[in-house]
Amino acid sequence: MSALLRVEDLQVSFATRAGNVKALHGVNLEIAAGETLGIVGESGSGKSVTALAALRLLDRAGRIDGGRILWRGEDIAHASRRRLHALRGAEIAMIFQNPRAALNPIRSVGAQIIDALRAHRSLSHAAAAAEALEALRQVRIREPERRMRAYPHELSGGMCQRVMIAMAMACKPALLIADEPTTGLDVTTQKAVMDLLGELTRDHAMALILITHDLALAAQHCRRVTVMEQGRVVETAAPATLFTAPAHPYTQRLVAASPTATSTLPHRDSRSAGPQLLQVSHLTKRFADGTLGVDNVSFTIAQGESLGLVGESGSGKTTISRLVCRLMDADSGEIRLGAANIGAVPACDFYRAPQRRDVQIVFQDAGESLNPRFTAFDAIADPLLRLGADRSRIKQTVAEGAIRAGLSPDLLGRYPHQLSGGQKARIGIARALASQPKLLVLDEPTAALDVSVQAVILELLDRLRAEQGLAYLFVSHDLNVVRMLCARLIVLQHGRIVEQGDAQSVFRSPQSPYTAELVACIPRFAL
């Protein structure tokens, strides 16, 4: 089999303020014409760098230190700028994560496709426009004539990615590199985009390199999958082999950590049938632009119970988490914590309310939720000081809290930027637990984490709940994760509850079509 693209011993380094950092330590890859290859790895594994290096798109700081990049046998690692311009787009095309940002915001999408076409072919403007329109049609954009004149901000994320695909396909390249093409998109959109991508590459006999952190996604769409870790390829195999008989320890860990429909946590079902803790009734919140963010939502959580809140972006799940945690005021409805109507206290005054210590929150992005000027110690001590702890024992209390959250007390003197994602997540949890709350709102606490870290954090949360008798309101877009941690869940769409019930049964036999669609769209690798 003659390789279309072969990467041999590729070494890349970046000049950073901390000196030269090696990103790739001799990567070897190859892909044949019409083949599909998945590259899977966690952050820092070098999967995107490999792709960018292959197209010589590394930014100024990046440098290819060694190795060869053979395109149809021609080494393009040292090709001229002119050759690269001819190559990019026409022979190898690439699409990216966050499609809206990947499009020029002040140029109509039609013009951008035309630009791509005319960069490689001497077409008249009219001819290019006609081809661009055809390209849009091909990616199944409705009303393509109208969309030609649209600007990226006027399109949804999924549509933008379709435009990107149209642009990439416009010059009929032999290889398409898709770098996390669906990350950040809702699960339903993700499926549609991936299906389209698979279909188009098949139809045009185009080779596809799919770069993703989601093992299941890669396995679902690719014939071969390469697993990378810290700038090295650890294993390349067919999906079935990877899942059933991973050779490398890292692959094994990765497979184990990836949540699937069958993953479980030890304490999930140990539901203590305690008295009712939180009662939310008829909660409604209208945004400044007039849309209903939360529409007449009611639910309860018992002491020690863990309730999952699932929905796509815009479903109102994050808003509910803010409302419950009294960081935002509702327009109507009641929130009761035990006997107290905490919904009646305005959010801006709630910091003085006695219930402040009872409801705490863990944020989605652990890094962003830590004050950059606070050490880990300061972050955990802050709620203790504010919510009236024994000041003389503060050092000890903080250290205890850190240990409970699995954070080594040695790290307490560090600032957020000196800590890893997992460590930051632990600080966030330790901080939330510091005031010994009764209810913990978990707002996608693992969404920004790599799967291996996610698995550990989920385990931690599970254990803490069991140990401390906490109640959780767990908000997530990832059904698999919710199912692992929660016995009961609520599915939200457009601010409304479309389904609720026992997690297992919702999963197995969804009642509403929306839930069914959600479940169906979860990437999974069927053996």
Partner: protein, 343 residues
């Protein structure tokens, strides 16, 4: 169609919203002028033989014998009827003075801004294309050098070198050679008026008079413009869509000029608007040094003479121009950036 309507609506709203600020400017200036410790009547009656009676007469003539709120009410009424009062220094209605002098200031400021942009944008782009390079540092150093010389010093030095020593520049005494004939006024911009009149000698004279003061002013604003160009170019060049354009194999020229520069120009436009308004009001010293008959020098003289009306008129004029320039920038921004509509 909907776009232009939206832009118009925006313009209308912005104008209406700026009215309180304008009123604030008027009232604040009025009060500030009234607390100036000098008595304008005494100043203007300082002829060799003026006595107490003359002072009283002038005070009455200027309306200073009334209480301040009454004076303010009269002043606001006058503004409403399109009068800004009389200047004691020039003896003319303030409106007429400003009308005659504003084109001079505008012409100079425009020339300086065009010059500054013409230098700053290429320099900023060059620096952004090679960040950290010698070019980058050189651009930064040169631009900063311009900011740290007070304009009156650079102005006097330029005159000394180019007029006095080298004799290349014309005598720094206003907008056009005093012996040349003034073109009939259409735009108020002498260079353009001369060209309209077909008088190329006058146009050359007017243009050559512009060079030194415009350079003096441009030097001072080079740094913010070049910095902004560089920063916004850098930000745009690092953005995802430039990577897309590169991945699609677009030519370097197209990427830099069509994709990057057009996007990077938007913040530069905003800064340019601010720079323009600031320069117009702040070129007092340049106008003084080059005997430029502009509005700022006029206001300065009036201020030192405690001549209230011209200062008030000038400040109001500057505030109005400030509002309009901001509005123009917003409208241009709205036309250039489709996202503004959505917001």
């Amino acid at each position: 169609m909907t776009k232009s309507a939206a832009v118009l609506r925006l313009a209308g709203r912005r104008l209406a919203a700026s009215l309180p600020a304008l009123l604030g400017v008027v009232v604040f200036t009025f009060v500030l002028m009234r607390v100036l410790p000098g008595d304008p009547a005494v100043f203007f009656a300082s002829g060799p033989s003026a006595g107490q009676k003359e002072i009283e007469d002038i005070r009455h003539q200027m309306g200073l014998d009334r209480s301040i709120p009454v004076q303010l009410a009269f002043y606001l009424r006058d503004i409403g009827t399109g009068s800004l009062g009389h200047s004691m220094t020039t003896g003319q209605p303030v409106l007429k003075d400003l009308e005659e002098r504003l084109p001079a200031s505008l012409e100079l400021t425009f020339a300086a801004l065009v010059l500054a942009l013409g230098l700053a944008i290429p320099m900023g782009v060059l620096a952004a294309l090679n960040p950290g390079s010698t070019t980058d540092h050189a651009v930064r150093f040169l631009c900063t050098l311009g900011v740290c010389v007070p304009t009156f010093v650079s102005g006097l030095l330029l005159i000394y070198v180019f007029y006095y020593l080298a004799g290349i520049a014309p005598d720094p005494t206003g907008r056009i050679d005093i012996f040349a004939s003034q073109p009939p006024s259409h735009t108020g911009f002498l260079v353009i008026d001369s060209l309209i009149a077909g008088d190329f000698d006058a146009a050359r004279s007017a243009a050559s008079q512009l060079v030194l003061p415009a350079v003096t002013m441009a030097l001072f604003v080079l740094a913010p413009l070049a910095r902004m160009t560089r920063a916004s170019m850098l930000a745009v060049l690092g953005s995802d869509f430039i990577r897309t354009a590169r991945a699609m194999g677009l030519s370097r020229g197209r990427i830099v000029f069509v994709y990057a520069l057009r996007n990077a120009a938007l913040p530069v436009l905003t800064i340019a608007g601010i720079v323009f308004s600031t320069m117009l009001g702040a070129n007092v010293l340049v106008e003084k040094v080059f005997s430029w008959p502009g509005v700022a020098a006029y206001a300065l003289d009036a201020l030192l003479a405690t001549d209230y009306a011209p200062v008030q008129g000038f400040v109001l004029l500057m505030a109005v121009i400030f509002v309009f320039v901001n509005l123009l920038v917003d409208v241009l921004y709205g036309l250039a950036d489709p996202r503004v509509n959505a917001a």
